[in-house]
């Protein structure tokens, strides 16, 4: 019994630590004058504020859906584990029906009355599951895929990018060789091949996406590092006899941080989309996990039915669209603020 508790607590803690770490990092950065200025500028753009709010809402649901506790049933005076119950399920507990029902409908397609008096704001799907709940659960999949993959990509991409860009020569040749080889395999084909080999699963999907998408980050970090390497501050640090390690991580890394931030945020929406596409191909998350890709996949034939079943796809699409849109707008604003190329010329320093 204890092990189930530990399991759930650890899982909840993991998510809490990651999100807490993110918030802590932002707060720490905010103490730096330059970053504080950047944040203020981002905040002054209305669309950035709105999309940040939306992202926070999604994060909140994600958090609710990630904190769970085990549920037991008493059988013969013994506690038997049933499943993990998340906070989200505590707050919103729709009944399971038999089959389709339209949003807010009183009857199912089978003409049966609803299980309990509760109505389904977004209807139910072919298995009688509440569509809105599935869409909420999809948030967890999207954030897990996006977040976990980013966690895989970041260290690999940053490390190899820095090494290649800073040391040049052999290190550079090796790293560029590896990533140009990977890059020349069409991304979707490589993903398909990898998922075919790994099998379905969230972790598998993250690893496959990680393998295909660290390349982009690495390339960008390498390019930026090469630029920074010739800057005066690096030269003087070198002249002072600082170690390479120190120069790379203390001096160069903070100066390429903004590029990493922009790339990861804008990549996030790409990862969410990739999950949907792969799940549609049957290569993403296992079909029993509710994800937006699976919902869209289910609804392929539903639009041609009579009566038309539109709520499944529309709900999944809206949830996904709003998230990706917010991430894109937010990322765009950050890029406009941070990237001098797209920024309208500011005051000369």
């Amino acid at each position: 019994m204890l092990e189930y508790y530990i399991n759930d607590i650890l899982r909840s803690l993991f998510v809490l630590v990651i999100i807490g770490g993110g918030i802590y990092t932002v707060l720490r950065m905010n103490r730096n004058r330059i970053w504080h200025d950047v944040f203020r500028q981002i905040w002054s753009v209305p669309i950035a504020r709105i999309s940040f709010g939306v992202i926070c809402l999604y994060l909140f649901v994600f958090l609710l859906d990630s904190i769970s506790y085990p549920l037991f049933k008493e059988v013969n005076k013994k506690h038997v584990f049933v499943n993990s119950r998340t906070l989200l399920e505590v707050i919103y507990t729709p009944a399971r029906e038999e089959s389709y029902s339209a949003p807010m409908a009183k009857y199912q397609f089978t003409d049966k009355k609803m299980e309990n008096k509760g109505i389904h704001p977004a209807g139910t799907n072919i298995n009688g599951e509440d569509v809105l709940m599935n869409a909420f659960k999809g948030i967890k999949v999207a954030f897990t895929i996006g977040g976990l993959t980013t966690l895989i990509i970041l260290p690999i991409g940053i490390f190899f990018g820095l090494i290649a860009g800073y040391f040049g020569k052999g290190a550079d040749t090796t790293v560029t060789y590896v990533y140009s080889t990977l890059a020349c395999i069409p991304e979707i084909l490589l993903l398909i091949a990898l998922m075919n080999i790994f099998g379905n699963g969230v972790l598998q999907l993250c690893i496959a996406l990680g393998i295909t998408s660290w390349v982009g980050l690495c390339r960008i970090v390498r390019g930026e590092t090469m630029k920074q390497k010739n800057m005066e501050y690096v030269q003087s640090a070198r002249a002072l006899g600082q170690s390479h390690f120190r120069i790379i991580f203390k001096h160069i890394l903070p100066n390429v941080m903004h590029i990493i931030l922009i790339t990861s945020i804008l990549r996030f929406s790409g990862l969410v989309m990739a999950e949907v596409i792969l799940s549609y191909l049957g290569l993403g998350v296992p079909p029993e996990i509710a994800s937006w890709g699976i919902m869209i996949d289910q609804s392929r034939g539903e639009l041609a039915r009579d009566p038309m079943v539109w709520w499944n796809i529309i709900t999944a699409f809206s949830f996904m669209f709003i998230l990706i849109l917010s991430v894109n707008f937010f990322g765009d604003t950050i890029r406009d603020v941070l990237d001098p190329r797209t920024r309208v010329k500011g005051v000369k320093a």
Binding site: A183, C184, L189, S269, N328
Partner: protein, 325 residues
Amino acid sequence: MKTYILRRILYALPVIFGVMLITFVLFFYLTTPETIARQILGEKAKKEVIQSWIHMKGLDKPYFFNTEAPGIRKVTDTLFIDHIWSLVTFQFGNSYQDDKPIMNKIITRAGPSLTFTLPVFIMGLFLSISFSLIFAFFRATYIDKYGTFLCVLGMSIVIMIYIIGFQWLFSIKLKLFPISGWAEGTDKVRFILLPIFVGVIAGLGGSIRFYRTIMIEETTKDYVRTARSKGLNESLVLFKHILKNAMIPILTNAVMAIPFLFMGALLTENFFGIPGLGSFAVEALFSNDFPSIKAVIYIGAILYQIGLILTDISYALVDPRVVFE
């Protein structure tokens, strides 16, 4: 020029070899012949059937070193060399699906892919350049603002939604086009129009925004001010000075995509039943046809390298600053 291209090809060879290695690791190391055989023949297949299938496909050889073979064949009669050799000579063997030569299939499948991707490419390029020019011309006005807003909206929609949405609207609701399918001859126009439309629309948002960024970046360059200081009118400044500079990265970028037109588009082809290379890859995937997937990946890699070389050449052709060394 000739030596330059030759050198570029030489550079590409190690990368192609790397791809061969990766496919080897993917399809021989990470998947054993046993699992492949089971996936093809079914879980319940008898042991002898599986063994004979493996032997027939030549998958029972050792990876790198064949101790049983005589002489030089100790090294050559191995999975690895077979694999490399089949790729180098484009002898991909037969498909696991229907035992027909893969190379023939790829060649016949490239045709339908092209009939779909070529119009998408040309129309997409034309439309996105035109729109980005309009946005650049009206930069910082409401046209530009709402235009880019729409672009981000368009970019944030997964391709499947476009496909399902347009199929529903044009095929189910309006009954203008068949929902999917394929026909030979002029009849295929009926089938191809909707996928082309979807392909163009789905790609528009991203490329307009990308091209617009390039053009806006050009508008801040010093030469634009010089051109204005000569009293040129705005359209001459935009269509002559800015456009030519912006077209260099845009066109060379587009050149990169040309070889990939042969590869088709995975999802669109699959949804619309276009018998192109994209849907070939999906079919191969669903039937665990590893040699076919391998072949498609390999050809994709080669096309990518060709794209890179073409990009370099087109740079040298359109940009007076770049010369072949």
